[in-house]
Every structure is written in C-alpha cells, then in structure tokens.
C-alpha cells in the first residue's frame, strides 16, 4: 500500500463509518476524526516531501505508485506528488477540516450531508495525487457530482436553479476537457510507440503542433470553466450564493483550484508550444476576468455575490499568471491559489456565520456588527485585508510574486496587461472597504440584531485555523515559495 492512496482510502473508510451513525454527535465525531487524520497526513506528507528533497531526490514526482487498472486501454491508477500537489493537498486538508467545523449544525439529513462532503473530498484528493490523466478526470467528475446535491438539498435561495446551472456549466467544461484529454492521449507519440495516459510519459513525448493547437484551447477552456474564467464564470456567483457554508468554502477554496491546477498540469505542461503560441488570447480573457470581476464586485449587495466576484478576479489572476509562462509568475500563481483558497474559505465561513445569525446577507440590512459580534467582525476585517493584499497576510506575497514575474516578460503586450491587472489592487480595496464600512462599522439600527451573540467554540476553531494559515504564509512566504518554485521546470 502506498502512502498517497491513503488520502483516498481514508475518506472511503469515513463513508463506511457514517453508515452505522445514529445521531448527529456520532456523525460529527466521524467527520472530525476523518478530517483530522487527513490534515495530519497532509502535514506529514509535507515534511516527508521536504525530507526527500533535502536528501537530494530530484525526481519530478515523489512517492509514486502505479497500478494497471484497465489493460485494454492502458489506463492506470497512478499517483505521485510534486511540490505543487503537496501544497494543494495541504490546502484541501485545511479547508475540509475547517469546513467540518463550519457546518457543525447543518440541518436536515446531517449524515447525508457529510457523506456527500466526503465524496467531494475523495474527488479533490484523488485529483491532486493522480498523475494519470484518466484517473484525474475520473476524480474530477467525482468531485463535481456531489456539488449538485449539496447545493440542491442544503442550499438557500434559488438553490435548484443554481445547482443545475453550476453542474451543467462545469459538465459542459468537462466535455471539452475529455475531448482534449483523449486527444492528447491519442496524439502523443511515446518512446515505445504505445499510447499512454501518464502525464510524465506524455510530457516526454512529442505531440504534433497542429494537434496541440486543437487540444490546448479544449483543455484550457475545460479547466478554465472551473477556474471561473471570463466569460464562463457566471455559475460562480449563483452557485456560491446558494451553497451552504462548508460547500462554498470547499468550492471556492479547493474546487476552483482544480481548474488552475489542471490548466497548469495538463494544458500548459503537456502542450507547451501551443501554450506559448495561443497564450495571448487567454491572457486577454483572464486579464478581463481580473478587472471585470473586481468591478463587478463593487456594485453587488449580497455578501456572497461580492465574494464570488472577488473570487472571479483572484482566480483570474491565477490563470493570468500561469499563462505568463515563466517560473516566477507560475510560482506566484500557485501561491495565489493557496492564498486565495484559504482567504476565500475564511470569507465564506464568516459570511455563513453572520448569515446564520442575522438571516440576511444583504449589506443594506446589516450595520454596526462590530459592537455586536466583535470576534467575527475583526476576523472579517482580517480576511478583507488579506484579500486586498496587506503585507504580512498571504494575498500580498502571492500577488507581488505574480506581478514581478509577469512584468519580467520581455513582451510589451504582457507588461501592459500586467499593469492593468495590477490596478485590481485598488478596486479590491474599494469593494472590501465598502463592505467593511457598511456592515461592521456604524451603529446597529436593527433591534433584532442587538440580541445576537458572538462566535462559539467550533466556529472559532474554523476561523482561527484559517487566519493562522493565512498569517503564516504571509509572514514566512519563503518555505512555500521554495517548495513550489522547486517543482516548476519551466
């Protein structure tokens, strides 16, 4: 049994563990134990990885394991991690862990909720550990389906509509994706002439340029839909607004990162020539995403919509930086994924907690919360500051790495786009401060809200956990940037 597969096996065991559960306490216990083990494993993996690297193991992927799964089509279950996957797994583990605490009181059908959530986690972990394109896509789809039920059953507002929209758009994306993946599979000429799904082998193989030109847009758009690339981002505001707290957290925090990760792993690394030729089209689109998302956020009145548009902007920056095709910008992109994941999860957790108390997310109905729930409010300010890129919190290091990296592109076009993308830091400040000023400051005029209470212990665990992570990355960015940039061979 290899170490990495534990990430998939433990959630499966959790699923079995949920079956005999009879009451909410047992369900919570199983969920917390499982999430804690996963978090422990992720941290262990990080240290094992660092240890291997220190010992001088310079292989592309570490801890590899490979099982032939369906011989007729040469499909393997193959796992392996490099620095990027390690970081992403850690991110997922943190967010699943905090997500469990954030959905402590989910009603009704608590057990079913956690079952689907765990299934989602299986998809996410499986995606990040796979190095076989087919299993990657398999896990990708596994992660998408539970989303439909989670939003459709436990959501709020127009939940059926949002769930359907989200699922259909993402499925539409994955239709492109599967075409692209199969195309890559069939057009890659490996050394021994066999057809392979293994990305390491395909990376060595030569894919003819005319095929690359076809498959790059397919795979990039396929993953780009999940990465909320303009104009395929509209599932995100509706989806996030309707989803329950933990699902928003997981979705914005981890699932959207699947998009960025996939773009990097498959579209860019396997089709590098086409990537450099066609990058400008997608740079324009993602550049638009960055500014457009930020401007879109200014005029929203629903907290979750604001945050969803802000995610469009920040995730746009991820894809934007990946397309700059240089090591620094890509490192920045991965750091931005990590940072945005934590930050946005924190945001959604806080919004969920505020919504759980006030039963409204409309900023026009909220004011003066600072006096009523100081803990949540201060945390909200911290999340906001992280989002607008305050030094010392994770957003800053990621954005600055991206900007410096992107600006070092020799081409004038790219540099001008970088400057335009930079301007998002101002617009971000506008919408963040607008919200903070509106809902937290001032005097509370709503009698009902005066009676509300501050966070309780399980909410504090979720929030503090995320804030600590955001701060650690922001204060000591060196280790994380080293792990990531060590794995980018560009």
């Amino acid at each position: 049994m290899d170490f990495l597969s534990l990430f998939v096996i433990i959630p499966v065991l959790m699923l079995l563990g949920f079956i005999p559960c009879r009451n909410i306490k047992q369900v919570r216990a199983v969920a917390v134990i499982g999430a804690t083990i996963e978090l422990g494993l992720a941290i262990a993996l990080l240290f094992m990885f660092l240890n291997e690297r220190n010992l001088g193991n310079t292989a592309d992927m570490l801890f590899m394991a490979d099982y032939l799964w369906y011989p007729a089509l040469n499909i393997h279950y193959a796992v392996g991690v490099d620095g990027i996957s390690v970081v992403m797994i850690l991110l997922s583990a943190i967010i699943v862990f905090t997500g469990v605490f954030a959905s402590w009181n989910i009603q009704p059908l608590t057990r079913d909720f956690f079952i689907w959530l765990t299934l989602l986690a299986i998809g996410v972990y499986g995606f990040f550990i796979s190095i076989d394109m087919f299993t990657m896509v398999l896990f990708y789809e596994t992660a998408l389906i539970p989303m439909y039920l989670l939003i459709g059953l436990w959501g709020t507002g127009k939940k059926e509509y949002s769930a359907m929209k989200l699922t259909l758009m993402l499925m539409g994306g994955s239709a492109f994706l599967i075409l692209g993946v199969l195309g890559i599979h069939f057009s890659a000429e490996t050394a021994d002439g066999s057809l392979s799904f293994n990305i390491l082998e395909i990376a060595k193989a030569n894919i003819p340029m005319e095929w690359q030109r076809v498959f790059f847009p397919l795979t990039f758009v396929g993953f780009g839909v999940l990465g909320a690339m303009f104009p395929f981002h509209t599932w995100s505001p509706d989806g996030h607004a309707s989803a329950p707290t933990a699902v928003s957290m997981l979705h914005a925090g981890v699932l959207m990162k699947l998009g960025g990760y996939g773009c990097y792993r498959i579209a860019i690394c396997l089709l590098p020539e086409a990537a450099s030729e066609m990058a400008w089209i997608f740079l324009l689109l993602t550049g638009i995403s960055v500014v457009y998302g930020a401007f879109g956020a200014i005029k929203q009145t629903d907290l979750k919509y604001i945050n969803a548009y802000s995610s469009v902007s920040h995730c746009g920056l991820v894809l934007f930086a990946l397309l700059m095709l240089n090591k620094t910008a890509m490192t920045g992109a991965i750091m931005q994924m990590l940072s945005h994941g934590l930050m946005t999860a924190l945001f959604f957790a806080l919004i969920g907690m505020i919504y759980g108390r006030t039963h409204t997310r409309d900023i026009r109905d909220l004011n003066g919360l600072m006096r009523i729930m100081p803990f949540l409010s201060v945390c909200y300010v911290i999340a906001g500051l992280a989002s607008l890129g305050l030094p010392g919190l994770s957003g800053f290091v990621a954005e600055m790495t991206i900007f410096v990296g992107s600006f070092s592109h020799p081409d004038m076009f790219h540099r001008v786009l970088t400057i335009i993308a930079c301007s998002s830091i101002v617009i971000t400040a506008v919408y963040i401060l607008r919200v903070v000023g509106k809902i937290l400051y001032g005097v509370c005029t709503n009698e009902e809200h005066l009676k509300l209470t501050d966070a309780v212990w399980y909410e504090k665990i979720a929030v503090i956990g995320l804030i600590v992570c955001v701060t650690i990355i922001g204060m000591f960015p060196h280790w994380v940037s080293d792990i990531i940039s060590g794995s980018i061979n560009w």
């Binding site: 930079c422 400040a429 400051y441």
Partner: protein, 637 residues
Amino acid sequence: MFTYTLPILVIPALMFIFLGLMDNKFKPMTSGILGTIGLGIVAILSYIAAYDYFFSVGLIDGIYQKIIAFNFEWLKITEHLHIDLGILLDPISVMMLVVISTVSLMVHIYSFGYMNGERGFQRYYALLSLFTFSMLGLVVATNIFQMYIFWELVGVSSYSLIGFYYTKKSAIAASKKAFIVTRFADFFFLVGILLVSFYSETFDFISLTNPENNELIMKTAGLSFLGISVLSWGMMLIFMGGVGKSAMLPFHIWLPDAMEGPTPVSALIHAATMVVAGVFLVARLFPVYYLGTPEVLTIIAYIGAITSLFAAIVACTQTDIKRVLAFSTISQIAYMITSLGVSGLAGHEGLGYMASMFHLFTHAFFKALLFLGAGAVIHAVHSNEMSAMGGLNKYLKITNITFLIACLAIAGIPPFSGFFSKDEILVAAFHSDKILFACLYFCAGLTAFYMFRLYFNIFWNDNNKEYEHTPHEAPFVMTFPLIFLATLTCVCGFIPFSHYVSADAMPFETHINWAIASASIGVALIGIGIATKMYFKKSEIPDKVADTVKGLYTSAYHKFYFDEIWVFVTKRIIFEGISRPIAWFDRHVVDGFMNGLSWTTNFVSQKTKNLQSGLVQDYVTIFIGGALVIVLIMILI
C-alpha cells in the same frame, strides 16, 4: 555593531500582537502603560543608535557610511530579485528613527489624558504600536520593496486609526477615503517599482542609489516609451506613491478628512511621520532622481510649490482648527518636496536636500506640538470649530504658551527651529529657480498669517464668550508632551544639521544667508501683523476682506472643489459609469447567454417531445410513410 537596533522594530511589532490579542482582557491602563514602556525602550535605543551613528562609527573617511545592521531574505522572487527585510542605517534613516520614536512616545504619553475613558483604549494602543512599527520599518528599509511593504502597513494602520471612532459616519468615510486614495497612488508606486526593478534587477537601495556607475541609469539609457525615457516613467510613477502618502496635489484630499481620527493620532500620523513618507522616499532615491531623471526632479519641485501655495490659501479660510493644521501640514510638506526638487547632489549644491530633511525634522516637532496643543483645546471645549473658541488664554496657560511657540516656529521667526530650516529652503530655492522662490516666499507670509489667525481665534479674540463649562487646563500627562516638544522646538534649530545630513553623505558648512533670512522674517512679520489686525480682537475686517475677494474666498473655502471632482470621478464614473454597467452586463449578457442556452435546449425539447405520442398508430404512420419514401427513392434512382 548595530544589532541592538533590531528590537526597535521587534518591540512595537510584538506589542501590537500582544495588546491586540489580549484586547479587553487587560484593563485600559495596563495596555497603555505596556505600550508606552515598549515605546520608551524603542526611543532610548533609537537615541543610542543615533549617538553611535553620528558621533562614533558612522563617519568614516569624511563620509557617513550606509550600514546594514541586519538583513535577511524574506521572499525570493527570481534569480536576482528577492525581497529582503532588514535595517539600513544612514543619516536620514537614523534621523527619522529619532523623530518617529520621540513623537510617538510623546503621543503615547499624551493619549493617557486625551483618550482617557474612551471605549477601545486597548485597541488604540495596539494600533499605535502597529503604526510605530510600520513607520520605523519604512524608514530603515534596505530595499524599495521592503519600503513598499511597510508603506502599505502604514496605510492600514492609518486607516484603522482614522476610523477609530467607527460608529461615526464621517470617520468611516474618512478612513475609507484615506485608504483608497493612498492605495490608488500606491498602485503607481508599485508599477514604478516593477518598472525600475525590471531594469535594475535589484530592489536594493544601496545599489539603486549608488552615485557612481549606477547600473539602473546605465541599463535604461536610451530606452523610451511614448517619447519619455523609461527611467523617467519609473521614477515619476514611484514619486506618485509619494504624492499619495504625502498628500500633494491632486491626491491631497484624504488628509483634511483624516482629521476625523483622534487628535493625538493626527499629530503622530498625519502631521509628523507618515505624511512625510513621500519626502523620505524621494530623499532615499535622490541620487537616481538627480543623476538619472533631472526633469522629473523639476516636476517634483513644481508640484511641491503649487501644492504649497494651494494649501496655504485654503488654510486661510478653514474654520475647523484641525483642518487648518491639516492644510498647513500639506503646505509644509510641499515645502520639503520643493526643496528636494531644487537640490543638487554634491557639497553646497545639496543644500536643498539638507534643508528639506532639516525642515522635516523641525516640522515634525512643532507640528506635533501644534496638533497636541489643538488636542488640549478640543479636550477643553469639546469642539473643533473656531467659533466655539476664543479667549482661552485665560484658562489654558501652558497650552497657550506652547502653542504660541509652535506658531512662531512655523511662521519662521528666530530663534525657533522653523526659522532655520525654512531659511535654508528659501536659500536653496533662490539659487535654483526664481519662480519657485517667489512662490515659497509668498507662502511663508501666508503661513504666518493663517497660523496667527488660528492662534488669535483660539486664545484671544474672546468676543465676550461665555463657556457652559469653564474650560480647564489639561492634566499633566497632556501638558508634559507639550512642554517637551516646545523645548525641542526652541532648541533644535541650533543643531548644525548639515554636519550630519547631506545629499552626498559628506558633512558641509552652512551659514545663514541674512539677506534672505531678513526678507523672510519680514514677510512673516507682515503676515503676523495682518493677522493681529484682523483677528486679535473682534473686528469687521475679515468679513469685508472675504467680501472683496468673494470668488477666491468661496472657492478656497470649498478647497477649490477638489473633493467634488473626486467624488464625481468615483461616484459618477467608476460606480455608475463602469461598475454598474459591468454588473448589469454580467447578469444580463454573459449570464443571459448561458441562461439562453438552457432556455433554448428546454424549448427545443418541449417541442420535440410531442413526436413521442405513445400511440402505436402514430408510429406506424411514420414507419409506413418512411418505407414509402425509401421505396420511391429506390424506384426513382
């Protein structure tokens, strides 16, 4: 050698985290005392560092060395570019350490009295520590990116302190405005950093500002963009950052509003320290400006002069005492900026640079004194408006005297400190550009006028006013800083500043140019004289004067409508013109397209599903029809 400077940064940072986390678990006094003790240690260490630097180790071979006391790589970005955090000691950073820690310590002490009983006293001290930490980090930055980091931190602490009274609408708006306006300027700063570092391949100040064989200047030689050299773009953009923080035109609008914060905060942040960050930035990069882009330096000088004149005129018409002081701050900082703009690099040519730093030094003390004095007045009468004051000399003896000293200093009357530094600036401007000199000279007169207008309106001109509660002098914790700063204001003009700070780090001699000095004293006295005539006692003259120049008066009273222009830009253009259409476009066009897709699918399937009637006869009809068609085709072909 200078490793003991590390606690200067670490203590306030830890204090912030500690006080911030404990917040209400401490009694207010405990937080205050802890913060003050921490800052006391910082101040003492700064003085020791200054003494060591200037009198024992700094001067080697007649040049003040740049000493890196501490440095580590914080984030590696590319092969060449890495963000370091460290401590760079050179004359200006050491001088700033002294200024910041002194003023900050005074403000810490003063706040015991001023903020006594305020809700959030602990938070206040935590934020003061954060601010002090960020400002100290800014001035000792070893590289431009560290400066940017602390620049942002300073902005955030300023934001939180302006919005300290977060239940007040105007305070929320002011804090938001301050942050966003400076953030907008920082965007240019960031782009400037990117541009410059792209060519220089380093963030490091020492290599950026190396006056000989400057790599940055060599590498950018001959490159231009839109007809202007790349280096000019870069340095201009970097200066824009300074324009934002130092509240020069057209980004000055946030500073008057920032007066919504507690008065000691205004003294510390918006008078003495943070707002001079822009001056400090230009001074830090001065060799690049002078050697690489002299034309930018000229622009800087003119921006400074225009701002100075503008702010001085506006200050004459304001009635909120803190706003008068705010505009006077803008005007004085613009003085420093102009002075840098006219400066040269070597020896006596570098007079402007030295004068600018000297003025920064003296201004910090007397402006802090003015603000703290204004705080004492506000503490006594519970209002910011001049109309609520008058005749306070009877009640606030100490405040009166210290405030007078500060007013004389800022007006440029010897032997107070402002005279010396202002004189040097005027001399520097006189030798460089007569227009700038005329501008600054006129401002000097205006400064004397509006400061004494303020002074008389507060402390004299009693107008037979009756106070509901008899105003009483502030407690000792508040008067002590006043006295201390007043003493500094009296003595620090005699410091031979050019022995310590100069553009090329080589000490030189300056002498007072008595011709210009007497002219400036003259204009100051005229200003004071007019103010005395108009405001010492209640008189009709001010209204008459206001009536004769009604247009000018009204527009100055409305700060020349800059706020309205900015509001128009943000509200009408950005909010209504860009943001709203984008939100609409997103909901209706982009999303509408997606919804349209699903609607079309739905529609088509609704229509086609009627083909499946479930009646066998219908199917058979189609089957037979189809068979007949096939037969026909086969027959015909």
